[in-house]
Point group: C2
Chain length 612, copies 2
């Protein structure tokens, strides 16, 4: 383990220069500066694609440093080639600051690269909401980032906008249809446009609009108010905006096998129910084809690189608390054909993101992981052990810069719980202690001791500080774990009733004593269980990521609580039943000190400043 | 003129094959099929950029057939090179079907190309509203189109989405600020985030949100309704969505000189007024830098090609009725350095788009056109002469397929009015009769006779049917006109009061007897005229494009009417005062038979079907 012992600045400099990688010291420079400096020396996307073995027509460049991979011909060409090893990165229950899961994903790939492996990462495209609300990159940090950083964070190749356009087109179609059905007789409707009456129930419109910001002002709105055009200003009703990345269209992009599967799923999205209780879908609104037309490019995964030049695929949705929160199946499939080791990331803690990776994403993809990394920080362990919760944009409480082995030990209960979740899936967990300069030897020793006793591999990793060279211990532990035979098995059978599946997740993954349903949730579940149309639907929970429970303020491993399910959504296209637990909203809010205040553009160079 | 006489199918085939251009016959194939067929043989964007003399780092490819031009280095490199000839394409008052202005722009460039000229076009990016609402391409038609057609029409390189994101971020900042100012004391605000109270007047919020669809349901909405989170669900107030292309951000993109000018203008957008009547800007909300960050790529013009391989730059906003409706100054500036003839397009008729080209766009750019093309169709002339108004999606009335020289002659009054507008600007008009297969020789002879008598060059052009080969007469007339010395002069001095400028446009361009203001409009104008901050503001009228008057049902040259100005908007960033005439809305509606019903994707190839 000597190679991963904390290296002094001088030693580190030598190591990095020997490897031909020159990046700025993260203890002295912010993430944005490190990325901008490395971008001067980055590979073109053409070189990157060559290195991966892509043929030139399989890469669609977007500028000289980003591109899209036309996945269908690659999968055709390499269909018979065996897949590389498949590694998921998950984490303990994070603090509101995040525990460096993307950083570890990138760092691990950089470490595997140093060991001479053909490897790649898949991460999720960041949402404009957090980018504009909370300072910090969703592309890693320190010496483990992906570049080009600013373009990646702002619009990128347009996928989130395409999802938003597809989603909102369904709402345009719904609201126009409701207006026309109100204004015209059956005969007139038929004569004007050959349309039958859908009889949409205005009190049972399921879908809202989307916007990719944190915008509490649009959570609850009234639309269709007459502004002087009488019956031509829409149909007045309650409505809402959700953040785009929580859209069912985004979930579909994450789980679609290909464009044909995507098209079929888009057509099954339930927009509302009619006055007789039947679902009204995007196909009924005759808008599913046009929605798909917006997504033809979005279905192709995006390609950028790590600071050290390994390929990073970026595709589909963040937000594992309110959405599926997985990078796409298409991205993983392509990468597994092109790499010997492919590292993908599932959002937030193992209770939230890994549970969905395990029981939804892998169900649809048919893929099975060879290992799973559980990222932990001494910071989060202290928080679970009793230190005050740190907040973005506020000074880190002093408790986090002083040694406290007792808190760390107490907080390990949360980590051990997540290790247990991964083991329950039949996969070998590798705990990655994502090192901070403030961590002490005794704190780290305690974590290793407890995790090893629980049967997990443990690696201390300094990828933030030292890049791939700092992640060699982690890379070795992961390659080791991949040699073990995985006995990956689902948590529950899809033959089980939805209520039983919810109960299983609540008890076995969250540690709840049981589940309580609101009247609405309960009657909705009854309908679902009685309707054979929902028989093969999956379960996608909406729950806070800040606690194993449904109450974000409960840290550690909460005991003696029951999961409260207030609502149940039906994603007909994705094929998900979505129980909403606790008081979680699909539209986050913007606080009083948002990061957009500090963002600007250097107009001489076009560089974005203050983003990270 | 023999070469442009109607060529038989057989002759046409010979002509096209001789020139090495093979495109499908538009009398037999829809626009989408012609485009898709030509796309099999189109140049890569790399070849196109080479042909234009761009250096490789000046082109940013987006896939292999579209790209962005990094304008700043090109203008630096070629700053001293004299500009090519500058031609604007305008039209008579169109029918709701449009009269082929984009088709003529593309056709003219193809004709100039056949004559061996180095030439280019600049057109505007189509809005998702009409694309999803009304069948038909905004990229020309028949044998005069630009390609790749589907990608161009659906999201393209992301500019409209970037404009929407920038615009809506200002609304996120505004509504969050209003909520926080309501919820907290001055002391708390200052302590939490170092913010002073802006005291925004909720009854004087100027800006709405944007979405790039025709969505009447979002015209008038109430936001910020408490959904159970009490004071954390926003500030309840009336609000609205406008179509994105009408955004002031889009106007700024069209007129900005460069990124620095764009940044400065973005910071001057007036979002609301405070309780003392002072403007509250995006700079006051500390969001202007972040808005600009979304626009760093959007400021670079896009590059595609005609069916016959000439470069087409696409940049900024459509909708000259409710917005400036011009392709960007940056696109024209770059193209004038790279071409001997550059053809740009201003939206709708000369009363609407050309007036703004003349008195706004050229004021900001300092450029002067060498010629202006006025597009007319026998169809529109008949409509102005008394035939029933044709409607999109409905069968064309029989009147349009039968000869009626009298209606054509009567309708020419409208055409002569537009010729007069162009002449008033000091520029030589070239009338282009955009030929339809149903036009008769006598109808065409009458138009030529009347236009020539009014001192205009006239060309019959069959570019829709025959491509560039059909536009040679037009190309020759335009090159001729460009040799005349242009005496381009503004319609009014910017020293004149705003009221006087509005009166001048109403009388001299629209043919009104005068202007009547609503109480609100009048008091707003009084404020504006008394405030030196607005002294150097331009005038950007909002008026229907379907009539010279403010009433879309009045055809020909309406007499004995007064312009009704109901509202006056203030675009502090663009630097426009925007009087809204008649009952025109910034958010169009979706009808009962929208085109999205017929759009779908061929999932085997990724091709979009039914769009055109």
């Amino acid at each position: 383990m000597s190679r991963s012992d904390r290296c002094s600045l001088r030693e580190r400099k030598v190591v990095l220069e020997e490897a031909g990688i020159k990046t700025l010291d993260p203890t002295k420079y912010p993430d944005g500066d490190i990325a901008m400096d490395a971008e001067k020396r980055m590979k073109t996307v053409y070189e990157l694609a060559d290195q991966m073995g892509l043929e030139s027509r399989e890469l669609l460049p977007y500028g000289h440093y980003m591109g899209k991979i036309d996945a269908a011909p690659v999968l055709n060409r390499l269909g018979k080639k065996p897949d590389g090893k498949y590694i998921d990165v998950t984490a303990i229950t994070p603090t509101p600051l995040g525990e460096g899961k993307s950083t570890t994903t990138i760092g691990l790939v950089q470490g595997l690269g140093r060991r001479g492996k053909r490897c790649s990462a898949a991460i999720r495209q960041p949402s404009g909401g957090p980018t504009m609300g909370i300072k910090g990159s969703a592309a890693g940090g320190g010496r483990s980032q992906c570049i080009p950083l600013s373009q990646y964070s702002l619009g990128f190749t347009g996928d989130i906008n395409a999802v938003q356009n597809a989603h909102n087109l369904a709402m345009v179609a719904l609201t126009a249809r409701m207006q026309h059905e109100r204004n015209y007789s059956d005969e007139k409707l038929l004569a004007m446009s050959g349309m039958d009456r859908l009889n949409i129930d205005p009190t049972r419109v399921e879908m809202g609009w989307t916007m990719d910001y944190c915008c509490q002002a649009l959570r609850n709105i009234i639309i269709g108010i007459d502004g002087g055009n009488g019956s031509r200003d829409g149909y007045m009703m309650r409505s809402r905006f959700d953040i785009t990345v929580s859209s069912e269209v985004m979930a579909i992009l994450a789980i679609a096998a290909d464009l044909a599967d995507l098209r079929a799923r888009i057509g099954r999205i339930i927009v509302a129910f009619d006055k007789f209780g039947n679902p009204v879908t995007t196909s009924d609104l005759e808008v599913a084809g046009a929605m798909t037309a917006w997504l033809v490019e979005a279905v192709k995964p995006n390609l950028i690189q790590t600071l050290e030049g390994q390929p990073v695929l970026v595709h589909a949705g963040p937000f594992a608390n309110i959405a599926i929160g997985q990078s796409s199946i298409i991205a993983d499939r392509v990468a597994l054909k092109l790499s010997d080791y492919h590292v993908t990331e599932s959002g937030f803690g193992a209770d939230v993101g890994y549970e969905k990776f395990w029981n939804l994403k892998c169900h649809y993809s048919g893929l099975a992981p060879d290992a799973a990394v559980v990222v932990a920080t001494i910071r989060a362990l202290k928080c679970h052990g009793g230190a005050p919760v740190p907040r973005p944009g506020k000074k880190l409480p002093d408790e986090y810069t002083r040694e406290n082995v007792e808190w760390v030990e107490k907080g390990c209960a949360n980590l051990l719980h997540h290790i247990g979740v991964v083991k329950k899936s039949g996969v070998s967990p590798v705990v990655c202690i994502n090192a901070f300069v403030s961590d002490t030897k005794d704190e780290i020793r305690k974590v290793k001791e407890l995790c090893e006793a629980a049967g997990a591999r443990v690696a201390l990793s300094r990828h933030w500080e030292c890049g791939g060279e700092g992640a060699l211990e982690l890379a070795d532990a992961v390659t080791d774990a991949c040699e073990e035979k995985s006995r990956f098995t689902p948590l529950y059978s899809w033959d089980m009733s939805m209520r039983k599946r919810i109960e299983t997740v609540a008890r076995e993954i969250y540690g709840a004593d049981g589940v309580d349903y609101s009247f609405e949730a309960s009657s909705r579940l009854k309908q679902i269980e009685n309707d054979p149309a929902f028989a093969d639907f999956g379960l996608c929970m909406v729950k806070t990521h800040l606690s194993l429970s449904d109450n974000p303020s409960l840290k550690g491993v909460p005991k003696g609580w029951r999961l409260k399910v207030g609502d149940v959504l039906t994603y007909g296209g994705a094929g998900f039943i979505v129980p909403v637990a606790g008081s979680i909203s699909l539209m986050p809010g913007t606080g009083s000190n948002p990061s957009y205040r500090r963002i600007d553009v250097d107009t001489a160079t076009g560089r974005v400043k203050g983003l990270f």
